[in-house]
Symmetry: C2
């Protein structure tokens, strides 16, 4: 029996993992601090920072697999929040409890912010220098190294999925795609940057599906979870304007660029495609169309 | 008032810090799991892995300075002990408590095992690749990165002292200098390797004094704590034989070399000498003479 414990299971990525996990025959236990969802899942309400309580639940569940997303994730806050430090300690305690109860395979969420962004270009897991510029990136990178060293010593299997840029239902309204969709749905001008910089965007359902495929494989170490395709921020805005039939509402240059924005942050996904055998299923145009439709619904219903 | 909290204050390095700290005008609080020592120190008996208790003591003491040595240190065990993971979490909790109570300057003990030993040669803090081969090295290196990122974000001052090879009173009898001293004191043959490999040895009192000088400075980041001098393992054995007047008892080659021993692990100490302004005070010959004298005393008294 494959029995997985998912943390952050009501979060942005975690919630989309439940169906693909069930489809692959996992018995699902979910750790969350919020009220549970409807799927065929055993929910454990728990503060992840309460390590004793977490250890008790892990000992009860005895998961064979661990899929760990829980982290400080408030938009705009998480880059520099001191809580990043607490989440490193909480994750180490979680991994220890997992190992102590016989766990075999752990996959945790890392980030493209672990890489040295001053390099720009295509980021390759074991070649691009890991020089994080933020506390968030430092915390994730240190934890990723610890997870691998711990796994080697304690003989469990571990992978570290580095998430790039993602979008999809449930994202903060302040994020790029949602902020533009909201303006378009309200027939208002969408303030945009010039947006020449290339980013690697993947729909959150694909991100979740890739994590589940990674968990269900035996691939170890750092793996980029991304589309492998660079798209400019402007191109995303332009696409949304076209899909909405209102290209006139897209106003590039009305927001100034952030200082020091790197020109290109795109993943090399050779490990994901060749070793895990996973490819994105949703193209950008379809994903953006779905987002716009959802925002039109929200605007109509006054949400 | 400079008020320092020392962890591992009865340990191999920590115990030798108390006098130099007092000499520099620090009011000393010591965290230890063992019975206290005699110096003018406020002792707090506490299990460092009990983070709630640690946080309570830190909030009480409100240290301006932190000197953190406590770790899993059992000779031969600590390289691969899974407890390394727990000590990372315990240290993060300690640092958080320190910051929350207004702490200003934290110095923690790192290790030369953070560096890529396959490079050999002279290790330079911010140039030699950090690729640890053991869980101990990985845990320390990840923690060192976290400490620096945490310090930048929370605006406290932090340094990370990378300890090389050390010797002195209180070391495990299984370590190089003590095992040879013991044999010589008993007039027995001292089994040695061929011992061509160069190592950087520093007397533990100098190690402790360097840490205190570092704490009392405002130098930040990783700093090698070492002599900067390479000496072969054979040369140490030969010196001990000469000091004892029994060079005939030194038997190089009666122990086989460990597989993969790097030829040279020596520190570049430019940061320590130029930025901290500290230099070793004890030469190797004097340090070894003191060790041999102490072992002769122990053997006579049957200890």
């Amino acid at each position: 029996v494959k029995r997985v414990l998912v943390t952050g299971a009501t979060g942005f990525i975690g919630r989309h993992c439940l169906l693909p996990l069930a489809a692959r025959g996992f018995k699902i236990h979910a750790l969350t601090h919020r009220v549970s969802g409807p799927e065929d899942v055993v929910w454990h309400i728990c503060d992840m920072l309460d390590s004793e309580n977490v250890a008790r639940i892990v000992a009860q569940v005895r998961p064979t697999h661990l899929l760990h997303f829980a982290w400080v994730t408030e938009h705009g806050q998480y880059w520099h929040s001191l809580e990043n430090i607490r989440w490193v300690a909480a994750t180490l305690a979680l991994l220890e409890a997992f190992v102590n109860s016989g766990g075999q395979r752990a996959v945790c969420a890392g980030t493209c912010a672990e890489y040295d962004w001053s390099h720009g270009g295509y980021f390759v897991e074991n070649a691009t220098p890991v020089i994080p510029a933020s506390l968030y990136g430092s915390a994730k990178s240190a934890l990723g190294q610890l997870q691998q060293a711990f796994a080697r010593e304690a003989s469990f299997s571990a992978a570290w999925g580095r998430v790039f840029f993602l979008y999809g239902p449930g994202e903060s309204p302040a994020r790029l795609v949602s902020s533009v969709c909201r303006a378009l749905a309200l027939s208002q001008p969408a303030a945009c940057t010039i947006g020449k910089q290339l980013r690697d965007f993947l729909h959150v359902k694909d991100v979740a599906d890739a994590f589940v495929a990674l968990l269900d494989s035996d691939v170890e170490g750092a793996i980029n979870i991304a589309s492998g395709q660079g798209v400019s921020v402007h191109e995303i805005c332009r696409l949304l304007g076209d899909i909405a039939g209102r290209p006139d509402l897209i106003r590039p240059g009305t927001i100034s660029e952030r200082v020091g924005e790197p020109a290109c942050i795109v993943a090399d996904i050779a490990r994901l495609t060749n070793e895990v055998g996973w490819r994105p299923s949703m193209n950008l145009s379809d994903g953006l169309t779905a987002m716009l439709t959802a925002w039109r619904g929200r605007v109509v219903s006054g949400q």
